[in-house]
Symmetry: D2
Subunit: 477 residues, 4 copies
C-alpha cells in the first residue's frame, strides 16, 4: 500500500496499449480514439494519438484518461487516413510529459512517429551507444531510443531500416510506427506482448494490443502479428515480412491471460475469459476446499471463481463490492481508520459470508498487502473460514518485459514460502496453481514466459538494468 | 443514447449522496471525504465538503469526482470535528457551480451549511413565497430554498427552526445540516430517500445515504433515520426528535433496491444484494425461459442474474465486458461505426454466447436505446435466441422525487406496450417483473413508492413542476 | 511591503470600475468588454459582465484581468443590447469567487444584476437588518446587501424600489443595475466616486467610472451622473431622476485626481492630467527646491513632475525605469537581495542622477515603505541630494469609502510628523502639498472629501466598521 | 493590426532574454527568477529556468509571464548554485511547448541545458546535416540544433566542444549553457545581441542580456562578453576564452538602442536612455518642426521626445495615455468600433493637443498600421497640425538575426517612399532620422548592423531561410 494506497490493487501494472489504423475512407483518429478507449485498462496515466495525411504527422498527447486527453477540439485537427495511438501506465515518479507516447521526430526521410508496449532489457547499452554517437537524449523512455535508432538506421525504406535495427532490440517490443503515408507494426521475435491486426469493415486495417479494441471499431478477420513479423500498411494494402526468425520457444506473457487482458480478448487462439474459467477449474482440482461459497476478488477473478465453484459444486456468489469510481487519491486515511485496517476500495456483502466457509479466488498475490486486508474484511463480515486460492504460482521474480510488479524486495513470494504467506495474510488455507496446472489450463506445453514464477528469463537480463533510468532521473522537467 | 452516448447506460440517474460527521477525536473532513468517496456512485458530477470547528464554517466544493475535487491542499484547511459532504449528479444543462452543494449562508444565528438528497415537488411555490418576501435567489437549486427558509424561520434553536419549516416541504428530502458547533440530519415523513446513522469507532457519530459509506469509516450500530425524524448531534451526544409524524404508508424508493444503491447497502432491513438476488429468483418464477446461459447486463444486474439462473438451474456466466474507465466523452463515432451500431461501452464474450439460447437479465428499461444495441451485440456474438428479463415493471411515469428518469416523452414504456418493446429491441421474448412479484421479492406489502411504474404518486405533484427551473435558466453563470 | 512585496507600490488601492451599456444596434457585451478593459487600472483581481436580451440575464465573471477572464468562448454567449461590467481590486484574504461582481439574483420582478464602486459605512447595520428579516447571506460583499435590499423593496418599478432604498445607504455608491430589459445607474448624494455617461455613436448610451472608458467605445456628450441622481435607460431612451437631494457640500474623492483616475479622465470638469500638472506647479510654489533635475516616480506622478520642473525652470527627466510586466509574484527574494534593499520593481537611470541634486515628485506617501527604497536607489545612482515632493498632504486617516489605504496603524503619517518621515525615508528635504494649495490647484473651494488628510469624515463612520467582515470571514469557500 | 490587434504595437518583436547564474552562497534559481523578471520585456510568451546542483540538472518551463510560470511550488524544487533562465517571444503559430527554452538533454558527458537569444541564418543546413547523421529532431527550434551539435561534438570538455562547433554557427547567438557543475556563456563573433556579465555581491557571477537584470540582483563590475568570447564559470571562478576572433566590423543591433532594450540598459558603453535622448536631439536637428508641443508615443519614445523638445525649445508633454494592463485579447471589436478606428490601446489627452501644432515622436514605423490610427486620434483630439518624427530610418528589409519585423511584404517602407508613407498615415509632415545622423547620435562610426535600414546584411543570408520551419510545421504537438 503506497501513498495512493486507496486504489492500490496490489496487482502488477501493465505499461501500455498500442493502436495503429489505416482507414482510407474514414477519419483514422476517431477509430484510434475508440480503440484506445477500449485499451484504457492497459494504462490510465497518459494517452496520445498521432495521425498522418500523406504529408505531415500531427500529434496530441497528454496525461490522464483517453476521454480526458481528447476533447473534440483536440481530436478534430488530427486529420488523415493513418493514425497510431497509445495508452500508458506511468510508473511512480516519472510523471514527465516527455515520456508520454507516441514519440514523434523529424528525420531525413520525413516525420516518424512511434509507440510501443514492452520493455527492452538492453536499453542501457543502446542509450549509451546513441550518446557515444553524439545524440542528446531528452527523455528516459525506450521510445526515444527506438525512434533515434530508426532515424539513424541505413536503408532505402522504413521497412528496411526497421529490419536493420529490430534485431538489436532485446526484450519485449510490440511496436506501431507512423510515417507521412503509411503505418507499420512489428513484434519482437519472442512474442512477449500481444499484437493483433484485423480488417476494417469497408476498407483498410487496424492493429491493436487486444482483439477487444479491434472489435470496438468493427474489425473482422483478426490475426496475430507473428513474433518477428513486420506489417506495412498503405491504404488498403497490407504486406507482411518475417524480418526476424521467430525464437523457439516463444515467450508469450502468461500474465496477459491471468490478469492483464480484458476478458473479451482472444490471444494465441485462447479466449481470455475461457482461459480464466479453466484456470479456476484446474485450481479446484489442484487445491479443492470444503466450502459454502466461492467468491472472486473483483473484477478479474470472476470467471476463475465461477469455474472453481462449478467444478466443486459449491455456490458461486459475490462477496465484495468494489468502488468503481477510480481516480487516484492522495488523501491519507486517519490513524483511526488505519488502525482498523479498513480497505477503502472494498466493502463486503455480509449476507453471502456470514457463518460461511468462504473460498476467495484471486488471480495473483504480488506484494501481499491487499490480500491480508481482504481476508480481515471477510472475517469481519462473519465468515467462519477463509480459504484463498490463486490462479497462478507465487510470483518470486520481477518482470523486465513491461510489467511493473516491483523489485525483488517487494515481492512477498521472494521472501516467504506458501505456509508463511498463509500465516501472513491470515487465511485458513492458501493454494497457488502450479506452473504445470496453469499451462495445462491454457492447453499449452510451451511458448510462454513464466519467468516471474520460475526466475528462468527467456533472454539474458543486464544486472544494471535500472542504472540508466536512475542516472537520467537527474534531469527533471 | 445522447451526445455523450458512449457512456449512457440508459438508466435512471440518482441525484445525490449526503454525509454528516461528528467526530470529536478525529479530523471530520477526512471521514467525510472517505464516506463521500464511497457514495461516488450516487453522483459523479460535483462534490463538496463543509466543516465547522466551533466557530466558523469552511467550505470547498467543485465539479468532478470526489478524488478530483479534493486534493490535500483543499482538504487540509477544512479543520474541525464537524463536517457534511455531498456528491452530485448534475442534470444536463445546469452545469453551474452555483448549484453545487453544500450550500452555505451566513444567518443571524451564525453560519449555516446544508446538503440534501431528493427533490421537492412544491419548490416552485416555496421559491415564489421567498421571492414575495423580498429574497433574491441566486441559483435554481432546492438547497437555496431550504437554506433560506431555515434562515428565515422563527425558533430559539436550529432544531426548532427545522421543526417549523420541514412540514412545509413536500417531497423527498434527506437532509444534513452543519452549524458552527453541531450537525443535524432529517428525513421527510414519507421516507423517500435513505438516510442512515452509525456510531464512529471511538467517539462520535456519522450519517450517510448508505450503510456502505458508514462501514468505510468504521461505523457500527447502523440505524435508519426514521421518516419525519430529526437528529441533533453535538460531539458524542446524539438526540432524536420525531418532528413530523411518519406518513403511512411510507414511500421508500423501490429503485434504490433495484438499481441505485451499492449492493452492500442495507436499507429497511434489506440487504440490497440479497434483494436483487430475490428479484432475479422471483423473475425466474414469473418469466422463466428455456435457455443455455443466463447473463447479467453489468454491473448492477449481476446478483439478479445469479438468482435467476439458480432458480431455473441454468448456468450463470458473463456475457458482456464493460469498459470500466468511465469519464464522459464527447467524441462522436464515425458514420461507419454508427451504421454498425457498435456499443462502445460493451463488448461480448462470444464463447459464452455462441450457439446458445441466452437470457439477459437487466434491472430496468428506461428509454430503450441501449437495450436494442445489447441484443444486437449478443446476436452478433452468435446467440441463437435472446430473451430479456427485467427485474422491475415497465417505467411509464417520470420520478419527481430526485431520480432523473426523463420526461414522459422519453420513457419507452409510456409509448409502447411490452409486445411493442419486444419488437423494438429485437428480443425473442421479454419479461418484466410485476409490481406484486417485485414487492414479494422485497418481502414488503406496502411502504414503497412505485409511482414510476404505476403513476400513483404518494404526494400531489404540481403540474407546473418544471416552470421555475425554466424561468430561472435565464440567469446563467 | 506585504507578501507580494515586489509589486507593492505602497499606494492606495482603488476597489472598482463599473460600466453599463444600452446599445440597441450593437452587441452590448463587446462594448462592455472594451470599456472594462479601459478601466483595468481600477481593479486587476477580478472582472465580470452581465447582459440582458429583454428576457433573461446572463453572467460570466472570474478572477484575473479582463482579457484573461473573457475569451471569445465566454463573451460570445453574452448576447443582448444591455450589459453591465465590473473590474475589481480584491483585498487580501477575501479571494473568494463569491465576492466577484456583477451580482445577479432572481427576484419576483425577474432577474436583477448589480455592480458598484465604493463602500457603505453602514453595511454592518444593513446586513444585520437583512439577517433579522431572515435572509441568508452568501458573501461578505456590499453588493449582496444592495441587491437583497433592492429585491425586497416595495415599489412598482425598479426606479421606485431604488428610490426607496438608496436613502438608506450611507457612504460611497456608484451603482449600475441591469434587469431583463433596461439598465439603471445611480450615485450616492455625496458624490464620492465618479460616474459618467455618454452617447454611443449611432444609438444608445453608456455609463462608466471614467471618461476614458467611454471614449474607448466612441462616446460623445459626456456628462456626470449627479450626486443623488438616477438614470434609467431603455434602448435609446434615457430618463434622469433626482431621487435624493445632493448633499452640500459634496464629497468627491480628491484622490481620484491625485492618483486613481487615468490621466485622460475628465471629472468635475477637470482634466486629471492638467490637474496633476497644476498640483505639481502649486507644489513648486509651496515647496521649491534648488535642484539640477526633477524626476517623477512613475507613472502617475509624471504630469506633476513636468509641472514642478516647469515652474522652477529645472530640467525634467526620467530617473526610474519601472518593470511594466505586472503580475503578482509570490516568490520571496533571497536574504542577500533583501539585505541590499533592492527594489525589484524599479531600476535607476544613473546618467540622469549622478552628481545631481534631485527632486523626486511622488503623488502620495501611504505606508512609507517604498519611498525609502527609492531614495536609497537614487543615492546609489550617484545623486548628491535627494528632495522629495508630494502632491498631496500627509495621509493620516483611513478611507472608509472604497479606497484601501490600510488601517491607522499602517499609515506612516498617523505615527510620524513630517520631519520624522524625512528622517525615516532618508531625504534631504521633504515637502507635502497643503490641503489649501491642493484645493487651489484643483480650482475648487469645497465639494471634496479630504478625510484621509484631515480626519474630518463627511458622514459618520461606525466604529465597528470591520466587524461584520471579520465575523463572516469564518465562512470561506 | 492582426487578430490580437488591440495590443499590437506595430513594433518589432525581440525573441529572447537569457540569464546565467553561478552563486555559490545563494539559491541560484531565485536570482535567475528575478533577473528573468527584469527581462520580461524581451519575451512575454514563455519562460524557463534550469538549475544544477553538481550532479543533476532540473528544469521547469512553461507558457506565460515569468511570474505566471514560476509559483513557489515550481521554483522551490530548483535547488543548486547554478542556473540559466530564458524569456521568450513566441512567433505566431509555433506555440508549441516543445520550442520553449531552456532545452535540456542527456549526453555522454552528463546533462546539458542551453538557452539563447538570436537566430542562425544557416540553421537549415545544420538541421539537414544532423538529420543526415541520423538524428531525429523533435522541435523547430535553433536550440535543439545547438544542443545536438554540442552533444555530438568532439572535445575533452564542454569548452573544447563549444569552441569546436561555434565557428559553424552563422548568425546571432548569445548563448548560456548549464552542465551539472558549471555554467558557460558565449557570444557570436559579430556581436549581434548583447550579453553582459557582472559580479554578484558576495560571491559568484551572473550573465544576462541586459545590465538592468544584473542590477536587479545586485551585480557590480558589469562587462560585455566580447564577440567570439566564451566564459566558463565554476563557483566564484570565471575564465574567459576568445574562441573565435571578433569579426571586424562588428554587427551590434542598432535596434537594441532604438527600441528593444530597457532604458536603464548600458551596452557598448552607451546608456540606452541617453542614447535615445541623443537620437531625439539629432532628429530635431535633421527634421525640425514649427510646433506648440512635442509628445512621445509611449513608452519607448519618451527620452527621444524630451531630447527633441529640448533642442527646439518647444514644450514637452504627454499626449497619449496607454492602457498598461497588457495581456493578449482575442476579442474582436464591433464593426462600429472598427469604423471609428478607435485605438483601444491608446487614449489622448486633449488638453495638451487641442488647437496645437503637435510633433509626435516615435521610435520606428514597421508595418505602418498603428501610426495612422495614432495620427487620427491626435487630430480627433483637436490638434491643428500633426508632424511625425521617427528616431530611425525607414525599415525596408527584414531582420534574420532574431527580431521579428515581418517579411518584405509586410514592411511599409519596402513598398512606399517617405512621401507616400506621409500620405498613408495622414501626417502633415514626416521625418525619419538618417543612418548617418543615427550613428552620430550613438557616437559610433561602425560596428553596428543596420541591415533592416540598408539591406546590407553583415553575413550572407540563405534564400531558403524559412523552408525548414515550414516543412517541419507539419509535425504539430
Amino acid at each position: 500500500m503506497s501513498d495512493n494506497f486507496t486504489l492500490s490493487d496490489d496487482r502488477p501494472s501493465e505499461e501500455c496499449g498500442v493502436v495503429a489504423i489505416s482507414a482510407p475512407d474514414q477519419v483514422a483518429s476517431k477509430l484510434a480514439f475508440f480503440a484506445a478507449y477500449a485499451l484504457q485498462h492497459r494504462g490510465q496515466e497518459a494517452a496520445g494519438i498521432a495521425v498522418a495525411d500523406g504529408r505531415a504527422v500531427r500529434l496530441h498527447k497528454g496525461q490522464g484518461l483517453v476521454s480526458q486527453v481528447f476533447k473534440p477540439s483536440k481530436l478534430d485537427p488530427l486529420v488523415g487516413p493513418y493514425a497510431i495511438a497509445h495508452t500508458r501506465y506511468s510508473t511512480t515518479g516519472s510523471n514527465s510529459e516527455r515520456n508520454v507516447q507516441p514519440y514523434v521526430v523529424e528525420t531525413l526521410e520525413g516525420p516518424l512517429g512511434l509507440a510501443h508496449n514492452g520493455n527492452l532489457v538492453n536499453a542501457d547499452d543502446l542509450r549509451n551507444e546513441l550518446l557515444e554517437n553524439g545524440a542528446g537524449l531528452q527523455s528516459s523512455s525506450d521510445s526515444e531510443v527506438l525512434a533515434l535508432m530508426l532515424a539513424g538506421a541505413e536503408g532505402k525504406s522504413w521497412e528496411e531500416r526497421l529490419a536493420k535495427v529490430m534485431p538489436r532490440w532485446t526484450g519485449a517490443v510490440s511496436l506501431v510506427v507512423i510515417t507521412s503515408n503509411k503505418i507499420l507494426a512489428a513484434r519482437d521475435p519472442w512474442g512477449f506482448r500481444p499484437l493483433i491486426y484485423g480488417k476494417l469493415p469497408t476498407a483498410g486495417w487496424a492493429v491493436a494490443s487486444e482483439t477487444g479494441a479491434l472489435e470496438t471499431i468493427g474489425c473482422t478477420d483478426m490475426t496475430e502479428v507473428k513474433p518477428g513479423e513486420l506489417l506495412v500498411i498503405e491504404g488498403n494494402d497490407l504486406r507482411r515480412h518475417q524480418i526476424i526468425e521467430t525464437k523457439e520457444p516463444q515467450a508469450r506473457c502468461t500474465f496477459e491471460h491471468i490478469y492483464f487482458a480484458r476478458p473479451d480478448a482472444v490471444w494465441d487462439d485462447l479466449s481470455v475469459h475461457t482461459a480464466r474459467q479453466s484456470l479456476g477449474e484446474e485450481l479446484a482440482r489442484e487445491h479443492p476446499a470444503e466450502a459454502d461459497v466461492v467468491i472472486p476478488v473483483p473484477d478479474s477473478s470472476t470467471p476463475a471463481a465461477i469455474g472453481y465453484a462449478r467444478v466443486l459444486g459449491v455456490p458461486y456468489n459475490e462477496g465484495f463490492v468494489k468502488n468503481r469510481y477510480i481516480g487516484r487519491t492522495f488523501i491519507e486515511p486517519t490513524d483511526e481508520l488505519r488502525k482498523q485496517g479498513v480497505a477503502l476500495k472494498f466493502n463486503t456483502l455480509s449476507e453471502n459470508l456470514k457463518g460461511k466457509r468462504v473460498v476467495m479466488v484471486d488471480d495473483s498475490i504480488v506484494r501481499g498487502t491487499t490480500s491480508g486486508q481482504l481476508v480481515d474484511l471477510v472475517r469481519a463480515a462473519g465468515a467462519v473460514e477463509v480459504h484463498m486460492r490463486v490462479t497462478c504460482p507465487p510470483i518470486a521474480h520481477p518482470c523486465f518485459f513491461g510489467v511493473d510488479m516491483g523489485s525483488y524486495e517487494e515481492l512477498i513470494a521472494n521472501k516467504l514460502g506458501v505456509p508463511e504467506i498463509n500465516d501472513h495474510i491470515g487465511t485458513d488455507s492458501l493454494g497457488f496453481l502450479s506452473v504445470e496446472r496453469m499451462m495445462k489450463a491454457l492447453g499449452r506445453d510451451d511458448g510462454y514466459c513464466n519467468a516471474c514464477f520460475t526466475g528462468s528469463y527467456p533472454v539474458p537480463v543486464q544486472l544494471n538494468l535500472l542504472t540508466t533510468k536512475q542516472r537520467f532521473d537527474g534531469v527533471i522537467e
